[in-house]
């Protein structure tokens, strides 16, 4: 669970693969500031990369906000896209499921790499994913 209100580090508009790279850098820096170790950083930043790319490729773009929770030593992100949403979230989280040309490991894989992973989807507002890592 996310243990305290975080402070916003940066909000990144997700339009292209450069923005996905930017999201990776911002999360890496936020984790470094809290003293994250290499494995923890690689796992969470990989998850962020999957989710941010999904927003660009499948979600018609969106934005991602990065938060630092300094007292409870957590970093979290909220990623919102403007796409059509996910029809069946449970199926989408299964390995091997894909609607596109991908491997279908992104979403379920990202979930395994985080300490907190919450996903909401509605046809009106697209997909919102909240993820956090304990440092």
């Amino acid at each position: 669970m996310i243990r305290e209100e975080g402070k916003l580090v940066e909000r990144i508009s997700l339009r292209s693969d450069r923005d996905v790279a930017r999201a990776r850098r911002v999360v890496t820096q936020a984790m470094d500031k809290l003293g994250a170790r290499a494995l923890g950083r690689t796992r969470f930043v990989t998850a962020v990369s999957e989710i941010a790319r999904n927003a660009v490729v499948h979600g018609q773009g969106g934005d991602i906000s990065v938060f630092s929770h300094d007292r409870s030593k957590q970093v979290s992100v909220i990623c919102e896209d403007g796409g059509p949403g996910i029809e069946d979230i449970d199926t989408a989280l299964q390995d091997g499921f894909t609607t596109g040309r991908g491997l279908g490991r992104g979403l379920g894989g990202a979930q395994r790499l985080c300490d907190v992973f919450e996903i909401e989807s509605t046809p009106d507002t697209g997909v919102t994913i909240r993820m956090a890592v304990n440092i």
């Binding site: 693969d17 990776r24 690689t42 930043v45 990989t46 790319r53 491997l103």
Partner: protein, 122 residues
């Protein structure tokens, strides 16, 4: 001859193309690197390709798939391919993602890869 664009650098050394993928490579850049490598394997008749990913702190499913494709393309063009420099954290994360890099031979270092290429060709 060597070139270094956004995605990474490619250098020819003794019949082997050394490919260094840059830190925090974007999806577009690594696709560009794939095209450049395929051209050079064919035009320079490389015997081997060594792909160095030691600069990469993360390999997600997209980058992992492109690396597997790089290795497959080089193999189809008759160049033996090695992937070197994978960080332990990257290896552990790939396992958790359920990613396999089929047909990709890994070596711990550039020196190991070069030794194995030499012993196979000799």
């Amino acid at each position: 001859m060597s070139d270094a664009l956004d995605g990474g650098s490619i250098h020819m050394v003794d019949g082997v193309l050394l490919v260094g993928i840059h830190e925090d490579v974007t999806d577009t850049d690594i696709m560009g690197l794939q095209d450049r490598l395929a051209d050079r394997v064919a035009s320079e008749r490389a015997q081997g390709v060594v792909i160095d990913i030691s600069a990469l702190e993360i390999v997600d499913t997209f980058v992992g798939r492109v690396i597997a494709q790089l290795a497959n393309i080089a193999r189809l063009l008759d160049a033996q391919t090695f992937l070197v420099g994978m960080r332990p954290a990257v290896a552990m994360t790939l396992v958790e993602l359920g990613m396999h890099l089929p047909e990709t031979r890994t070596a711990l270092s550039l020196t190991h890869a070069m030794e194995r290429l030499r012993s196979n060709s000799g």
